[in-house]
Amino acid sequence: MKIFVMAKKVLTSLCARPATFRYPLVPKTYYKNTRGSITIDINRCIYCGMCQRKCPAQAILVTKADKEWKIDRLRCVSCGYCVELCPVKCLSMKNTYSASTQIREEEAFRRA
Amino acid sequence: MIEEQKVINIEIKDLLSQTRDFFNSGHRLVQIGCTKLPECLEINYSFDKEHHFINLKIKLVDLNVEVPSVSNIYWCAFLYENEIHDLFGVKFKDIALDYKGNFYRTSVKRGFNPQNEQP
């Protein structure tokens, strides 16, 4: 039976730098692959609605008549399926997350 | 092909004796699952011994027919049977621990067979 097996580790971590960092003062580093948030190059979109139909979380709303593409960021699960399916490849996955928010609002993109 | 899976179709009346045979030969109960098909409900009893997978399949045409519970042979079956009772409305006879429809507290009763359709 040993006691204080943890003691050495506790003492070394007492002197070491913290394992966490002071977010948001120190920004988080994202990887190239990180699935962060979906963006759209709206001028290339053909409003086919494929992303809306296939979205597992039903976060996307495409209105062909108004030439509008809407996404509910709080519903989106960042799976990237829409990016994979988009026939004109106007959707892309950014490796940074969308900003935090207090209200539930869809983000709308319209053709300029 | 990862593994051979033997599926044996049996009658409801043979279920208990077949299950007891599996119990005596040292199989373990892997799962019991129910499938709703247009014409009937299928209940799969899966057994496994040293990675040899065997599946018994019974067909239930009339929901009023009581299926004998295997939970008196494999005690752990009570979870699966209560689950199937709550989701599909299948009646089981003599479950070792019968929740009487209170196993899943879902707002929709018989969620997997909502109209309680008699096939």
Partner: protein, 361 residues
């Protein structure tokens, strides 16, 4: 002498050691538990039925989100079920990548469990150190797949992302260093007297009981039964040399030991896989629709998971049934509890590694 009075103490659905809702009615005599009756179904989501409304190819995303910890293996098992029905031959490289990600998810899940366990018996510092190490594994996962816990890299016919050989070498190098650090922390679980005091001899599950109650995964292997679904040889496991890890005591301590040893085994398996992986395609094109049925079985960190898929040749499956490891372990947990002290109940519930969101799929 009068027999002591029996009381029923409700445990859960909200309990400090359990982030997820499971309810137990504990019949106690003084401090001793006589009987335990479980209740589930507080958060039943009916995901299995969603399969009737979602295309079978899209459903991988839903399958993967059944659970947040064993996510990749859920997606993988669904893919295997469909691939077996459609008789798709998955490329060799994809199989190896699937194996590597499965093992990474096993390491992170076991580290998570060790942390929760330490938290459960009140060893806060140990909990934080375990999770600090888990974070490093999550970084590897994020770097290779893009998600921290939802990998999103399994797809029917292969995998979505590739790991380059340089990256693989880096991962191996990292894992070698982490193994050292993990060893330091797990030694506390293995040797420390205060930890042992809470775990040794508590909640003994005999070999026969464990087997016949249908227990799976580490719960079963800690009781001396060497069943490991990985031995079926799905993904690339048939080309990997490993033996299921077995402990024989069947108490909480051996369940802890099995998981600790599995962490190092997983690192070893990844090392083997990295040596055997060959360049090649990572996916095949999937055409047609499934028609048939299959029971796909894989080994999750918590034990064997079963996906039963039945299809009739349309884009929508007729039935998908998921039997998760926790569901199979609940009877074992119920049998563990009688005879233990009330204060040990949280620990015993934790030792089967309950994942209620899996169970309430």
């Amino acid at each position: 002498m009068n027999s002591p009075k029996r009381t029923i103490i409700p445990f859960g659905p909200q309990h400090p050691v359990l982030p997820e809702p499971i309810h137990l009615d504990l019949v106690v005599e003084d401090e001793k538990v006589i009987e335990a009756i479980p209740s589930l179904g507080f958060i039943h989501r009916g995901l299995e039925r969603l399969v009737e409304k979602r295309d079978f190819i899209d459903f991988v995303y839903v399958a993967e989100r059944i659970c947040g910890i064993c996510s990749f293996i859920h997606g993988l098992t669904y893919c295997i079920a469909i691939e077996e029905i459609m008789q798709i031959e998955v490329p060799k490289r994809a199989n190896y990548l699937r194996l590597i990600w499965s093992e990474l998810s096993r390491i992170h899940s076991h580290l998570l469990w060790l942390g929760l366990m330490a938290d459960g018996f009140g060893f806060e510092a140990l909990f934080m150190h375990t999770w600090r190490l888990r974070e490093k594994i999550l970084d590897i996962i994020e770097e290779t797949t893009g998600g921290r816990i939802i990998f999103g890299s399994a797809k029917i016919g292969g995998v979505r992302k590739d790991i380059s050989s340089e990256k693989l070498a880096q991962i191996l190098e990292k894992l070698k260093n982490y193994a050292q650090e993990i060893r330091e922390i797990t030694n506390v679980f293995i040797n420390d007297s205060s930890v042992k005091h809470r775990l040794v001899g508590v909640g003994v599950l005999s070999k026969e009981d464990a087997y016949i109650l249908g227990a799976v995964g580490p719960t079963l292997r800690a009781s001396g039964v060497g069943l490991d679904t990985r031995k079926l040889g799905y993904a690339a496991y048939k080309e990997i040399d490993f033996e299921p890890i077995i402990e024989t005591a069947g108490d909480s301590y051996s369940r802890c030991l099995v998981r600790i040893r599995e962490i190092f085994q997983s690192i070893e398996i990844i090392k083997q896989a990295a040596g055997k992986i060959e360049p090649g395609a990572i996916e095949v094109k999937v055409t047609g629709t499934p028609n048939g049925e299959f029971f796909a079985r894989t080994e999750q960190p918590r034990g064997e998971v079963i996906y039963y898929a039945k299809a009739d040749g349309s884009r929508f499956l007729q039935r998908l049934r998921v039997r998760t490891p926790t569901f199979a372990n609940v009877p074992a947990m119920v049998k563990l509890l009688p005879g233990c002290q009330l204060a040990d109940v949280p620990i015993l519930v934790l030792t089967i590694d309950p994942c209620i969101s899996c169970t309430e799929r």
